[in-house]
């Protein structure tokens, strides 16, 4: 099956440890898609914190909403202002 992230890794020759990796996509500051999430730390309309393999992703913005969450992915919509990786 086609996987966007796998294609990127193959194109740029990056060595990634799949067991401890995560991927983030920010679409026009309107949607953030995180692959490899390990759990939700904080939910709020102005900030959200998602635990990933090896750290925490904090999303700041306005009217943030947890659009979809599954075992390994999370999709957040709203007006994204800042992304922090800790």
């Amino acid at each position: 099956m086609f996987n966007f992230f796998s294609e990127l890794v193959a194109d740029f020759g990056i060595e990634v440890d799949k067991a401890n990796s995560f991927n983030i996509v920010n679409m026009s500051n309107k949607l953030v898609y995180i692959e490899g999430q390990k759990g939700v730390i904080k939910i709020g309309t102005e900030s959200m914190s998602i635990r990933v393999k090896g750290g925490v992703i904090v999303i700041f913005g306005q009217n943030l909403k947890l659009k979809k969450i599954t075992g390994s992915t999370v999709c957040i919509v709203g007006k994204i202002e800042k992304l922090e990786s800790k």
Binding site: V40, K65, I69
Partner: protein, 368 residues
């Protein structure tokens, strides 16, 4: 889709746990409440999990969606649809009814016997029915002229047409087509045998072919047959009357000059010939046999009648009703007692020196 509203102590932890097992949508946190949406299929499991984790006050409400596809997520409905599809698919291999159509006054029992001999009954596989063989067998039944067997849905449709009495005599030889002898518009056709050359609503002229003397069977073969049909048409019967504006009338004056000649055996014996001084006259000749027992004598008369010519002017408009009625009576001479008059009309045409009255009758007539 179902919307859950819960009030857990640790919102994030509960969502985290749920997300490991289920897909969660539109999760929102307001004050101490959390709402999220899940699939129908996960509803019961999520409820169970929340109960297991000790979450109280769980609200679960269905979300109305307009999409029909969402209704198909119910396993029961899906099973029903699949079951129906399977039943429909399987039943399409069987016939569920045998329908015999057509004119079967005398041969219905024989047709059923043929079906019985071939073991054809309801709920038999379509593939077990040899339509062509069955057609041939039914065709062999006396008094059956045409057989067509088709599958229509799950029914076996047998279309039969019986022959006419003595049809083997009627249908031997070469036949002429049925030709119209009227100018007419066809209103109804009942074809008995042959091939129609016209259809209801056609306007035809005298001499046009109505029914060809052949018929075509299901294999496309043509055979010569006596064309027979009942055709009813609107026939147009017309008559016209010419009325001159002025006519020369002969008025006899009463003056007559009679000349005669007596002959014996064709030989003239005596001849009386007065001079004719009439300006206009007409003659009348006749012979009187004056034969006696002995002498064969004949008298040839020739009379001259004087007349005068007088111009008579006719007032057409004053007598129009009379002329129309006179024309109508002429047209009615061509109408039989059993013909149904459907319409009447007349036209008056004016020409230089004369008028023409045309009267038209439309009658419903069995032309064949």
């Amino acid at each position: 889709m179902f919307k859950f509203t819960i009030s857990p102590r640790n919102t994030e932890k509960i969502l985290d746990k749920l997300s490991k097992k289920f897909e969660i949508f539109d999760a929102e946190k307001s004050e101490e409440k959390v709402t999220f949406i899940c699939h129908n299929k996960d509803r019961k499991k999520i409820k169970k999990s929340l109960k297991f984790w000790g979450i109280q006050n769980v609200e679960c409400n269905p979300i109305k969606t307009s999409s029909i596809l969402n209704q198909f997520t119910s396993i029961g409905i899906l099973c029903g649809i699949v079951f129906c599809a399977v039943v429909w698919f399987v039943s399409s291999f069987f016939i569920t009814d045998v329908i015999i159509m057509g004119d079967i006054d005398f041969t219905e029992r024989e047709v059923y016997n043929v079906l019985k001999e071939n073991n054809i009954h309801k709920f038999i596989l379509k593939s077990k029915i040899d339509k062509k063989n069955l057609e041939n067998q039914i065709q062999n039944i006396p008094y059956i002229s045409y057989v067509s067997i088709i599958f229509r849905g799950n029914a076996l449709l047998i279309n039969i047409r019986e022959q006419l009495t003595n049809v083997e005599i009627v249908n031997s030889g070469t036949f002429m087509p049925i030709v119209s002898i009227y100018d007419c518009t066809i209103t109804s056709i009942k074809l008995i045998q042959g091939t129609l050359a016209v259809k209801a609503g056609d306007t035809i002229e005298a001499g046009d072919v109505l029914v060809y003397p052949y018929s075509t069977d299901s294999q496309g073969n043509t055979c010569s047959v006596q064309p027979l049909a009942d055709i009813v048409a609107d026939v147009y019967i017309t008559s016209d009357l010419v009325v001159y504006d002025k006519q020369i009338e002969q008025i006899f004056t009463g003056n007559v000059i009679k000349n005669y000649e007596i002959t014996f055996l064709g030989l003239p014996l005596y001849k009386k010939e007065n001079e004719v001084d009439f300006l206009k006259y007409t003659t009348k000749e006749y012979t009187v046999d004056a034969t006696t027992t002995l002498l064969p004598i004949k008298i040839n008369y020739k009379n001259y009648y004087e007349y005068e010519e007088k111009i008579k002017y006719s007032n057409f408009n004053e007598n129009l009703d009379y002329y129309i009625d006179k024309t109508r009576q002429t047209a009615l001479l061509n109408v039989k007692d059993y013909d149904i008059i459907k319409g009447e009309s007349h036209v008056v045409r004016e020409y230089d020196g004369y008028h023409v009255v045309e009267y038209s009758l439309t009658i419903s007539k069995k032309i064949v």
